[in-house]
């Protein structure tokens, strides 16, 4: 028993394991790169790196074919730490290696943390528009707003999960139950034409629903496409059903109705994350090289204001120059509507500084290590000559 444990320990701290793990990571990265031809980079990350095991679908069965990023990275971490603790012996000559590996450990941990904690949002601003929230890329929510009082709105936002599970939602602020009848994770909307008698009658009875038809689409994983969900929602009040609405982010405007003597707005939208400050797009610029369509620069001039008035200033976000504010980073990601709408990517990554430090440490370590090698080489040559 003891020898088995000893063998295990020797294996865990061995250079052989290091080499095998490096081979595994090369294969993993290679496979993940090639699979990007089929899948978007986000799905590839989930499938290969943010997992313990990589599954491949063979026929209809998911087979565990390879250790995932967490397994390989975790073992590498154990191997690194183990080897250094187990074989620790103070020597100047090894300083470089220690630095390099300490940095590597930090880098692995940093990548793990950013995988766990990083959040991405998007912020679309038309010229002159002000927003104090950014939107999720993928998650949606059903927002039901009581707009009766002109002074303020009261919003009830229902997240994606109960919607996708077709649950019935009862909320104390709502005088009706929300019954999710159908939920399409990805869909396309089209106008219901007068000639199209053959199609199935729509479920929707209220709002734009009767004129529009939602068709289910397969989920997309492409980088430049988004899944556009839609749902049929029935509202059931004390006196029975109020009707069924079709909701989808593809519908531009929220749908208005009255219930229990109050005025309501309802829309399915990409989940909003409110911020303690607001941004106004003053001007989006798209510079091209003279006489060509080659883009030279994209930039957004933005007014940043906080409700307490402490911050009220203009900022310029352009390529390679994001705005870092309140733990968020705003990057120029794109543009729409003939250069009048800017699309900013908003990232919260509390561990963004770790890779910078880690890389500095590793670089220092490699320089030391190879510098010592080189010095040794020249000393030997001089001795031989």
């Amino acid at each position: 028993m003891l020898t088995t444990l000893k063998d295990l320990r020797d294996l865990l701290v061995s250079l052989k394991l290091t080499v095998v793990l490096i081979v595994f990571s090369i294969i993993l990265v290679m496979a993940a790169t090639l699979d990007q031809v089929n899948l978007g980079v986000w799905v590839v990350q989930e499938k290969y790196f943010r997992t313990f095991v990589v599954f491949w679908k063979v026929g209809g069965v998911s087979l565990a074919v390879f250790p995932g990023g967490y397994s390989i990275g975790g073992l590498l971490l154990i191997n690194l730490l183990g080897a250094h603790i187990y074989r620790f012996k103070w020597e100047w000559r090894k300083l470089g290696i220690w630095f390099a590996h300490a940095g590597l450990i930090l880098l692995l941990i940093g990548e793990l943390l950013s995988g766990l904690m990083q959040q991405d949002f998007t912020l679309r601003l038309d010229q002159g528009q002000t927003k104090n929230y950014s939107e999720s890329f993928r998650n949606i929510e059903l927002a039901i707003t009581d707009t009766t009082d002109p002074k303020f709105d009261e919003v009830v936002a229902i997240p994606e999960r109960p919607l996708a599970r077709l649950e019935t939602i009862q909320h104390p602020k709502l005088p009706f139950r929300v019954v999710v009848k159908t939920f399409f994770p990805n869909s396309t909307l089209s106008m219901r034409g007068p000639m199209m008698g053959a199609e199935a009658p729509g479920i929707a009875t209220q709002g734009v629903g009767p004129q529009v038809i939602a068709t289910v689409k397969p989920l997309t994983y492409k980088e430049d496409e988004r899944n556009i969900p839609s749902a049929y929602i029935e509202l059931v009040g004390a006196e029975g059903s109020l009707g069924t609405w079709l909701v989808s982010p593809a519908l531009e405007e929220p749908q208005t109705f009255t219930a229990a003597g109050r005025t309501w707005k309802m829309e399915l939208r990409f989940a909003r994350h409110y911020r303690p400050f607001s941004l106004t797009l003053l001007k989006f610029s798209h510079d091209r090289y003279a006489g060509t369509d080659i883009p030279k620069n994209f930039s957004s001039r933005i007014r940043l204001t906080t409700p307490d008035g402490r911050d009220d200033r203009e900022v310029l976000i352009y390529m390679n120059n994001p705005l870092r504010y309140a733990g968020l980073t705003f990057y120029q990601a794109g543009f729409e509507n003939n250069d009048t709408t800017t699309v900013l990517q908003v990232v919260r990554n509390p561990s963004w500084l770790i890779p910078y430090i880690a890389c500095g440490v590793i670089t220092l370590g490699l320089l030391l290590q190879f510098g010592i090698h080189l010095a040794g080489f020249f000393t030997k040559r001089r001795a031989a000559a």
Binding site: K16, I22, T33, V41, T292, I294, A333, N349, C359, F377
Partner: protein, 619 residues
């Protein structure tokens, strides 16, 4: 006698290099050299007409000279003048390279109709008959995603693009369908007032000169047509001519001239040049060129220097000369292993340094012209990979003096320049940087370091190839040479690890700055990461005693595959944020290279008893 061999070889080569740097001489009475240096704005950059002529020819037909129907070889500038002013003559030059047999069939052509060696070049007259069908086929091909197009579809789209480039170039100064356009321009001062008077009279219902009104109308139609087609923007802004904005094509300048009633002087010059070229008046042509040039020099002191240098750089072709030198280096150094090791070795080393200095100068001129760090696109990365690898070879050769550094320098220098030559067929290699890449700081740090990493990994691989070839096929790999090679490969792998790691990390930092994440598992990032991992693998396997000399060599050869994949392969996937360098023609070359490296690894894995160097009885 043979003592002087290195010096003699160096002198001879230096003479050849100097000869290539002399100003180009043009035959005939026209001062084509002066014309070729005139500036124009194309693709966002102000460049001499010489560059436009050469890069257009490279795109259209893969080489810089044109054969005329009489079998004469025309210079790029001569061809450009005919394109601009005598389109009917230019249409009879064989300017389109078409190799795909199905595309030829589409145009009702066979290789027998072609001109030149290989019968693969065709005239616009030959191509133009099939244009409607070509347009239809290219529309069909466009509907297919670029990554999955067949070779035929790619060839169709490429030819369609070539035809568009050709037509736009021809539509730069001569308005199609307007007879005597240049004469009308030359008489602008009379045609326009007369035409205006006639038009006003006509509107007032009075008797008028219908011909004068028609001439004015034609000029204004020509302006609109030229403004939409004109490829060249050769007309500098009247005020500040140094800036890139405000340059116009002939149509735009003509429209402005019609509005103001004053013919733009630049446009007047180009019209006069056209009349002189069409009318065989070299004296008038030369006077106009010189006067125009003097005007530019007066208005923009110092500005024209850049165009002069670029035209001179184009004709000197330093990278071509260096490529030839590397061939000589390789041969000399290989022969030095058979005979006269000292003399031939020193001769080879002298030439390596000469070729490297020449490439350094070439890269330096490109950097000065562009105002950028050395690597801005695939083409310049090929130049730079070769430059770094040869520099490292020079260091190795200085240390070991066994001609291994020279042989490798010849091999790597030649191959990288050959790759660069083929990459140059895509057009002007001094292109403007797309928005996200427009950052000299990151180009100078991330891109340069990561390219140095590529170069070092390749160098280790090529040194390992030498080890395997000499060891298996010859008896020349004795123990000292083998040890020296092993130390070289090990040292270079260390160097490669450092630079590829730092370069990759700097890339991550750049990505964090511009895309909001340090690491995004984008194909190009992964490619760089795999190189780092591979080098780390070699080092750890070596430290752990899992491999010895031969294993080190085989892993280093594998490094060639890994690096070529990261350098070119990931671009072929056509996905990710880095896919600006997309290319597809090179795919088969990449496969062939990979296959050859696998073959070498197999050879290197033969048992040592099969190696000629090691099977021999003890020396």
């Amino acid at each position: 006698m043979k003592r002087f061999l290195p010096l003699a070889v160096l002198l001879l080569a230096a003479l050849a290099v100097v000869a290539s740097l002399l100003p180009p001489r043009y035959q005939g009475e026209y001062d084509l050299a002066a014309f070729s240096r005139l500036p124009t704005l194309v693709n966002g950059r102000i460049k001499p007409l010489d560059t436009v002529a050469r890069t257009s020819l490279l795109v259209l037909q893969g080489r810089q000279s044109v054969s005329t129907p009489e079998g004469r070889s025309a210079s790029p500038t001569e061809w450009l003048l005919d394109m601009l002013y005598k389109p009917e003559v230019a249409d009879t030059y064989a300017t389109f390279e078409i190799v795909h047999p199905d595309v030829l069939t589409l145009l009702n052509l066979t290789p027998d109709d072609g001109a030149g060696v290989g019968k693969k070049r065709f005239t616009y007259l030959q191509v133009s008959k099939g244009l409607p069908e070509l347009a239809r086929q290219s529309q069909l091909a466009e509907s297919v995603e670029p990554a999955v197009r067949t070779p035929f579809q790619r060839a169709v789209i490429q030819l369609r693009d070539s035809v568009i480039l050709y037509q736009r170039l021809q539509g730069s100064l001569l308005a199609p369908g307007v007879p005597n356009f240049l004469e009308q321009l030359a008489h602008f001062d009379t045609v326009v007032p007369a035409g205006l008077a006639a038009v006003r009279a006509k509107q007032a219902g009075q008797p008028h000169d219908a011909a004068a009104a028609k001439a004015l109308l034609e000029l204004s139609d020509a302006a609109a047509a030229l403004e939409s087609t004109g490829y060249l923007l050769p007309i500098p802004p009247v005020g500040d001519r140094g800036v890139a904005t405000g340059w116009r094509n002939a149509g735009g300048a003509l429209r402005a001239s019609l509005e103001s009633g004053q013919l733009n002087p630049g446009l007047a010059t180009y019209a006069g040049l056209g009349l002189a070229w069409r009318g065989y008046q070299p004296a008038a042509f030369n006077t106009l060129v010189h006067e125009y040039r003097a005007g530019l020099d007066r208005d923009l002191p110092g500005f024209m220097g850049r165009c002069d240098v670029e035209a001179r750089f184009n004709s000197a072709q330093p990278f071509y000369t260096a490529m030839l030198l590397y061939v000589v280096v390789f041969l000399l150094a290989v022969f030095s292993w058979l005979k006269w090791p000292d003399e031939l070795g020193r001769a080879a080393f002298a030439l390596v340094i000469l070729a490297w200095v020449l490439s350094t100068a070439g890269i330096g001129v490109r950097m000065w012209l562009e105002g950028r760090p050395p690597v801005t696109n695939l083409y310049s990365s090929a130049l730079f990979v070769g430059w770094v690898a040869v520099a490292l070879c020079i260091v190795l050769e200085r240390l070991y003096r066994n001609a291994i550094g020279s042989v490798t320098a010849g091999l790597v220098g030649f191959s990288t320049l050959l790759i660069a030559h083929h990459l140059a067929l895509g057009g002007d290699t001094l292109e403007m940087m797309r928005a996200v890449l427009d950052s000299n700081f990151w180009l100078a740090t991330h891109v340069v370091t990561v390219t140095v990493g590529y170069a070092a990994t390749f160098l280790a691989g090529f040194l390992a190839l030498l080890y395997v070839i000499r060891g298996v096929f010859t008896k020349s790999l004795d123990a000292p040479t083998a040890d020296a090679l092993a130390r070289m490969v090990y040292g270079i792998v260390c160097f490669a690890t450092l630079f590829s790691f730092v370069g990759t990390v700097l890339g991550g930092i750049w990505a964090d700055q511009s895309w909001g994440r340090f690491w995004g598992w984008d194909p190009k990032e992964n490619g760089a990461l795999i190189i780092v991992l591979w080098n780390a693998l070699i080092l750890h396997a070596r430290w752990g005693g899992m491999i010895r000399q031969r294993g080190l060599m085989n892993l280093a050869i594998m490094g060639n595959i890994v690096t070529s994949w990261s350098w070119f392969g990931v671009n072929m996937l056509g996905v990710g944020l880095h896919s600006y360098g997309f290319m597809d023609a090179a795919f088969w070359w990449l496969l062939a290279f990979v296959a050859s490296q696998v073959a070498f690894i197999l050879v290197g894995s033969l048992p040592l008893s099969k190696w000629r160097s090691f099977s021999a009885p003890a020396r």
